[in-house]
Symmetry: C2
Subunit: 132 residues, 2 copies
Amino acid sequence: MKYKRALLALIYTLGIIMLAFCNNAAAQEKGQKVRLAKIIIDSSQLENYKAALTEEIEASLRLERGVLTLYAVAEKENPTHITILEIYADEDAYKAHLQTPHFIKYKTGTKNMVKSLELVETIPLMPAMKIK
Amino acid sequence: MKYKRALLALIYTLGIIMLAFCNNAAAQEKGQKVRLAKIIIDSSQLENYKAALTEEIEASLRLERGVLTLYAVAEKENPTHITILEIYADEDAYKAHLQTPHFIKYKTGTKNMVKSLELVETIPLMPAMKIK
């Protein structure tokens, strides 16, 4: 009887450990989605594009917990060349972002301003990195 | 006598306003330096390079108030292609960074690992942007 109890306790403990292990693996798999969007804009539409992008980024950061940053820069020597460092909490946060009214408005509104769009999936060197 | 005082007060006030205006203009001129470093690494040295870069970034963020971020990513499809979003508080902070022991150690230590380096000066769309 005493051994049976000890055995049950052991099985229970092993179960807890396995559960913790699986959860951890799932968390790692569902890690941050980090991407570089490389965009070239029609120069005659650059100011309109920037206004639309600013509005979209402002709304995304304010309304979506899972959008961790959308850091956009324009090259000084080629101002129509925009790069955005996009960080989403996970793949689900990214999928949810695509369905938001502000993203859909931006995407449809800027369709004819964008000459090319390259989406480059990346792995961050230090995923906990912030901006001071 | 009364008018003279009022005139002096007016000149003093105008002086303060002009000083504030000039300070503001100087602050804007001395604004953030935001850059993309695009680096291609010798594939046989990739792990050594990443270790050296991680050490350098960790030290820069910890020891230098003016280094606001060094967010490094590797492309998933081309892991030897590294991009770093570099944000410095201003040009002086960047110049000071170049003189630090950790930067000099990184620069000399990785010289033979780097196949190409392109430094692209940029203008941020929203300079106050952070990472949540």
